[in-house]
Symmetry: C2
Subunit: 369 residues, 2 copies
């Protein structure tokens, strides 16, 4: 069920009902402006990944700064964006279920949509949906450029799929999806450069083989917040799919030489139990903040750590117990992983200078299918 | 945003849009009947924990079998239950924020509600809310019986808080909350018996001290799915707060001598990419199935394991690649942890004999505050 908003505009931050998803608007806008400035002198465009933010409001804020569209992972996310006015959406993922493809095709009347395939069966499923809807759907071939998850092998196998797409009267070949997800979180710049260097070679080779067969890649898409400087330097990709840059999280902050973005996303929580000295329990456990990439950090309270998450509780620890926040005090947490943390909430609470400025729905929250 | 239901009644299970939260109704009803039969000959009643199911429909199904009410951890959960017709709700947790306490007090006209406190400040906050609402609120004292999280020390400190409650003209002393959460997951029956034995002694001693001061405990509440046989055997608790028993999960199944319940909760997913031999990728990652207590298990496919979760993908592995499910095949996953998995979904898809029988909203999904 949609939950009621945890705040009202004008309210002080410390009066927001907790736990709540807080967006520090100054830091958020800084991040959007910084990414736009970094991409402006390059030949690449931003197609920001909405799997992170799940919000057409944020998508349109990115597009006002030069992003040419959005990526999503799920049809439900594409729907939420299209219904919210986003005009250009790439499902950077395979979709093979006929009902989902029919839903995606139905969005074509209000947005430009494209989807990925990594095999003949997937292409046939998209072709059937396009034919049934009476339109041509744009399909990118996803290649496995090193992550070892989805994606066909680069080179001839990818070319064969592209030719299959281009040869269908219900489909349009849209280019290559080439994303190396795990490279984002390699800790040293050297390790990330090595992974992306290898991915760039595979991608460049495939683009060239496609060109030799007369197939141009309108989109060569990939890259994320942890590695996009390397993709940009290669000159191979023309669309950058970073998403986390808008928010950042504790895991990206653990990278050496992290990208130049500020932490804008927080979970606001409250100390709701402090029954004895040295014990302070927050009302935010792992239902309120994702722990798949580590526990959250405690913001602005030096010497205090978030030591353990249960379903609805977070236990704080401090070597010097006098540093612990007091009963009733509100505490900002830096999520270990931004994307799944956002997906737990119905509302962003936008704050600036200690006051609530706006409430934005997380429109595609829970959009799994 | 509330997501559309992923199925319709009558549909075959393999046609449900994935990922979806599946409830095997035969196993679910077996679990509810089994718990009712186990408690019937004892002096204890079930006050099932709705933090697990978040559904007034399931709450009422438990109450039709003898449960006297429900527990919740959050006021938003209490609201969803009360609005759905559940008449007796205990917030088995501290609530100190005035706005939340006002919301809880407002439920008193449609349900019997009670809440916990573990300190003077918490009692004062509840007292102020009760006075403002013009009613008397029932307060239990939570004691720390070994978990080391919330709760005042058993014995004289707990008695002092009970006297403070009983002495207020806006409050009613409701008894003790004594829950040893971490004991549920100790792997051997001996380790669980030891932890609950110590908790029982502390609780019994506190009940006796209260009795000597003329304070009767209408409720002595606690226990969970992993340990409730021990709490029952002690004779100290009169209300059992198990929740997971209705669903079960992979973590409870790892206990030696697990309780006699069947797995009824699954995440239904689909192989959406199989680009080369030995690779099968599901459309369910850790946004779709909680991984805080370990990765999910693959149901009904011997030799196949869920080897890695990313945000929207799950990678399957098999030593014999021919065992892997094929592209498009639907796969049932057993969640590592039921409670936070349920909290990611808007709908239960109830299935029986391969067909969808019902769709139930996860009414308190995302109810954090």
């Amino acid at each position: 069920m949609l939950q009621a908003p945890p705040a009202e505009p004008g309210m002080r931050e410390e009066d927001v009902e907790t736990p709540a998803l807080l967006l520090d608007l100054d830091a958020f806008e800084h991040n959007l402006d910084t990414m736009a400035a970094m991409l402006a002198p390059t030949g690449a465009k931003l197609r920001a990944h909405a799997k992170t933010h799940k919000s057409p409001i944020i998508a349109l804020a990115q597009m006002r700064r030069g992003a040419i569209g959005q990526c999503v992972q799920k049809v439900a996310e594409a729907e939420a964006l299209a219904w919210g006015g986003v005009p250009d959406i790439l499902v950077s993922n395979e979709v093979i279920a006929p009902r989902k493809l029919a839903r995606l095709a139905a969005l074509s009347s209000i947005a430009r949509v494209a989807v990925c395939a990594d095999g003949e069966a997937g292409i046939a499923a998209i072709e059937a949906a396009a034919e049934a809807a009476g339109l041509r759907m744009t399909v990118l071939v996803e290649i496995d450029c090193g992550a070892g998850r989805c994606g066909v092998a680069p080179g001839p196998e990818a070319v064969a799929l592209a030719e299959r797409i281009a040869g269908s009267r219900h489909l349009v070949f849209g280019g290559l999806q080439s994303y190396h997800g795990s490279a984002q979180h390699r800790r040293t710049p050297e390790a990330r450069a090595e992974a992306i260097g290898a991915a760039a070679e595979e991608t460049r080779r495939t683009v060239e083989q496609l060109r030799q067969r007369g197939l141009a890649c309108a989109i060569v898409g990939g890259a994320g917040t942890g590695s996009f400087a390397h993709e940009l330097a290669s000159g191979v990709w023309n669309e950058i799919q970073a998403g986390s840059y808008a928010f950042m999280d504790a895991d990206y902050a653990r990278n050496e030489d992290p990208p130049p973005f500020r932490q804008s996303l927080f979970v606001l929580s409250q100390v709701m139990s402090a029954p004895k000295p040295g014990v302070a329990v927050l009302d935010a456990g792992h239902k309120a903040v994702a722990v798949d990439s580590g526990l959250p950090l405690v913001h602005g309270l030096p010497g205090v750590t978030y030591a353990g998450a249960s379903d609805e509780h977070g236990s704080l620890k401090a070597e010097d117990p006098s540093l612990l926040p007091k009963l009733g005090q509100s505490v900002r947490l830096v999520p270990g992983h931004c994307d799944p943390t956002v997906d737990r909430y119905d509302w962003y609470v936008g704050v600036r200078k200690g006051r609530v400025e706006c409430l934005w729905p997380v429109a595609a929250r829970g959009g799994m299918a």
